[in-house]
Amino acid sequence: MINLVGKLQDIQEEFGYLKRDKLDEISRELKIPLARIYSLATFYSSFSLTPPAKHSITVCTGTACYIKGAGEIVERIIEKLGITPGETTDDNKFKLETVNCLGACALAPLVTIDGNYYGNMTPEKIIEALETYL
């Protein structure tokens, strides 16, 4: 049994997004209509159809982070970079995303930038952290 979701995950991991030519390849190889592949690609939130930005910012908006002020952190980043969750800056430098929970609730509110963890964030500290990537 071929695990189609797994195949897409491999592409996502390798290129940081689902490259169109790779999807075409899978479609031909496995004889699966491209439309079906797209339905998967757009249903699951870990897939992206656009290339990744240079730096990826992920704000955890799990319950513990929410209670401790994740909302203000997101607002502050929106203000600073001019992009809302899901968007990329025009210079392709930052992509902002939110995630339902990273499961490290002791560090709430928690932000990761390029996979580095920034715990116990405040609206001030997140700007300091962002500036090291500017």
Binding site: V5, L40, I67, C101, L102, Y117
Partner: protein, 537 residues
Amino acid sequence: MRGKSTTVQTISVAGGTCGMAAGAGEVWNKFARVLGENSPGIRLELTGCKGFCAMEPVVTIGDIFYCRVRPSDVEEILEKTVHNGELLERLLFQDDGKTCETRREIPFYQYQDRRVLSLTGEVDPVNLQDYLTRKGFESLKKALKMKGEDIIQEVKDSGLRGRGGGGFPTGRKWESCRNSQADSVRYIICNGDEGDPGCFQDRSLMEGNPYLVLEGLIIGGYAIGAEQGYIYVRSEYPLAVKNLEIALARIRAEGFLGRNILDSGFDFDIEIVRGAGAFVCGESSALMASIEGKIGEPRVKHIHATNRGLWDKPTVLNNVKTLASIPLIIGKGAAWFSSIGTENSKGTMIFSLTGNIKNTGLVEVPMGITLRDLIYKIGGGIPGGKKFKAIQTGGPSGGCLPESSLDLPVDYEALLEAGSMMGSGGMVVMDEDTCMVRVAQYFLNFTREESCGKCPPCSEGSLLMLKILDKFIAGNADEDDLDQLGAIGRMVAKTSLCGLGKSAPNPVLTTLRYFKDEYQSHIKGICPAGACPGLNQ
């Protein structure tokens, strides 16, 4: 040679995701660098999460428990504690001015009964030898000499119920799968798609003791007569996937998995399936659709998965904690397992204690403990001198319980009666600065975003409720809105297709039930918590 120890001392650094995020990796690296290749008498170990997340990075040396260790502390720990047996007071846990010299003295651990978690945080998670010397896979050996029916009977006798949400009796689920469609292939799946925000019990187990989960899965496979198992892991948990992959490769090499396991004639293998970021895939039929490579939409369940599940074959789906309990039940017996707990909720439950609480962490307690003991004795109460307002149990499908519910025993039925649920074990504490209307909005937002969109009650109903909540938050709501909100909530609960839709209005319905005065204040333009901009406090 005063102070020189002759036995091997183990320096153990907690390296779960939470510990690593707090800087445990740097601490471990520093130890490794200073100790070098050759350090006779000292063993350096990177374990899974020890549970006390608020104190990460945590380092233990025997019974000594050091909190918030920095790389700059490492040389002193080695020189004073490891070589000379002296304690570094500044790194010990302080409880109201009292210094706890050993882990046993720390209240956070004192009131726990760590059974399923007994090795999590105590061993190198992927070191098979460590697991084997602690009686690992003894239960599998014992099970392989038993009949499937007898294993199922033992699990039934133990009273174990599903630890993922619904609380269905595990033994009965196994039995109905074993007895359906004779001669068919069967599947068993471990549900590690821990999607509830504020939960990390399953992650900690998969990361910190993967062998225990896998042993439970293999025993389950044998009991129901399956040859193939799956473990579905949430995509946000890379360390869990990595440790499970290593663990799987090692047990396959040692004959605990694959063809003719331990010469018993039983063939069984396990595949890891990574989730792709959809909360709804924690729902059983959606999860199976996802493994089949489809979008994760739930289906109507007039036919149970134990009869027609994955690829229409009889399938058992169990939560990580459920399967991790199996080796204990087989090894120590049903009577041992059911000796603690309440009448209908046996054994222990693992909770993630988070939010406005001093001792954030992972705890394992006997079923039946009161919420009050969980929050105050183990959790240390609310920080900053704030007052308790609510505890949210059961994730987005659960509910918010008020002060007056704190003496409730933690038990499947008691929580359901109170309008919440056990769920997977999330416990988020909220203090007086939390606005309950906004909390309801938060959870509904979550549900709306994660709704698969297949059935209108869930997808449209949550949107309608959200619009009403927005009116409350802006101070534009009236009494009619209050009635409407309740009516729509009850309609969604009654008519949604899957369990997630049915339980989606719970946060709204429980806040309406217990915090109605707060909604009424919003009608008058007042937010008691002072959290809604534009409203008075």
